[in-house]
């Protein structure tokens, strides 16, 4: 990271030299490395099965882009890119990913007939056209940012001058957009309660009603996870008096994910000890910390 920053610095100083048609070696190096990473990242974004991997790939691409911004004299934007985009927005993505608990890998089998090859074709075509456009455009030499940045004494003051003068109205409107979107998100995420909240009394009565029909229903509170010398985490099941594991004491989500910590069985008791009913097998002294799958 620091090497990249250094490269950025050198590129930035080089840029101050004026109109260019070719960049310096530092920026060239940065570009080729960054471009490779970002293209690979983009490909990873598209083709990774797990959404989390995609998100990470995207974050990588964004960081590369932030470096490019800086290298091109948009220092403020580069920082914002990292702080806002990579920091905030990507985190929002990850947060939502976790919130809705999607971690099952998405099947990449295409269901719409012809969609995939058509999409590839159109994308290639579009990219080719765009590249063709750029290739044929009379772009001329690059003016560089030095004059513009220097106008108000640096990149940030210059941007501020522009933003709060010429683009003031747009700036205000964008704030309205942000507020509206925040409101919208709240409205959308809000779940309207359609029935009155059920009191504890009602819940208890209900529970017993169900118990009367189905004895397997548990009317008592769920057992707490186990608390042992070995572990006291939520994924550690409690032991029942007979030494067996109380599955119910572990959170259902963890159970479903098979994340229930195993326990090292205690040394097998002597037959006379077994006779007095203490068949439980407390955790062995040699219990390791490794996870073990517990057969259900």
């Amino acid at each position: 990271m620091s090497a990249a920053l250094l490269a950025t610095q050198s590129a930035a100083t080089h840029l101050l030299a004026g109109p260019v048609t070719s960049t310096g070696g530092g920026e060239t190096f940065l570009f080729w490395v960054g471009a490779s990473i970002s293209v690979l990242g983009a490909l990873g974004l598209i083709f990774s099965k797990k959404a989390v991997h995609s998100a990470l790939c995207l974050a990588g691409v964004m960081i590369c882009l932030a470096l490019f911004y800086m290298a091109q004299g948009a220092v403020f934007l580069g920082v914002v890119q990292i702080v806002v985009y990579t920091g905030a927005i990507m985190m929002l993505f990850l947060f939502v990913l976790m919130l809705i608990g999607i971690d099952a890998p998405e099947s990449l089998t295409e269901t719409i007939r012809g969609q995939r090859w058509a999409a590839v074709l159109v994308a290639v075509l579009f990219g080719a056209i765009l590249i063709g456009v750029f290739a044929h455009a009379k772009l001329g030499p690059f003016a560089g940012m030095d004059q513009a940045n220097a106008a108000a004494g640096g990149n940030v003051p210059s941007l501020a001058h522009l933003l709060f003068a010429r683009y003031f109205w747009a700036f205000e409107v964008s704030s309205a957009v942000l507020i509206t979107s925040a409101l919208g998100a709240m409205v959308l995420a809000h779940r309207e309660r359609v029935t009155a909240r059920r009191t504890q009394k009602e819940l208890a009565a209900d529970r017993f009603k169900r118990y009367s029909k189905d004895p397997s229903v548990i009317v008592t509170p769920m057992p707490n996870p186990g608390v042992y010398a070995q572990h006291n985490a939520v994924d550690t099941p409690a032991l029942l008096p007979d030494g067996s594991i109380a599955q119910l004491s572990v959170n259902a989500t963890l159970r479903a994910q098979g994340e229930v910590r195993g326990i090292t069985p205690l040394p097998v008791p002597l037959p006379h000890e077994a006779a007095d009913g203490d068949g439980a097998s407390p955790a062995g002294a040699n219990g390791s910390g490794r996870h073990e799958e517990v057969g259900a």
Binding site: L15, F31, L43, A74, L77, L92, G127, F134, N149
Partner: protein, 99 residues
């Protein structure tokens, strides 16, 4: 290296983002691909800004970020809402509005 290369990179990234939108079904990934497209556009803005020696391009990229942020917020909220009711975030599952 010619600074035009940034533009080519931007084009490639944009197309890849679009490709992702077209072939991925997970709404969140689709959203990410959209972000990629926006970022590709931003890169082009910054490059053009440098080309013309004016800051307006950067301002534009700045606004793009604002809009992207707003869009992500609302979009993710929609995804959550949809997920709540349908237990699915696949864009293909929401296909009732058709012929």
């Amino acid at each position: 290296m010619n600074p035009d290369s940034y533009l080519y990179l931007s084009a490639i990234l944009f197309s890849l983002g679009a490709l992702g939108v077209l072939i991925r079904r997970d709404a969140i990934v689709v959203f990410m691909c959209i972000e990629l497209m926006l970022n590709a556009a931003n890169l082009a803005f910054v490059t053009f800004s440098r080309m013309h020696g004016r800051l307006d391009g950067q301002i534009f990229a700045f606004f793009t970020m604002v809009v992207a942020a707003a869009e992500v917020v609302v979009g993710l909220a929609i995804i959550i809402t949809v997920f709540r009711t349908r237990r699915s975030a696949s864009v293909d599952d929401a296909n009732l509005l058709k012929y």
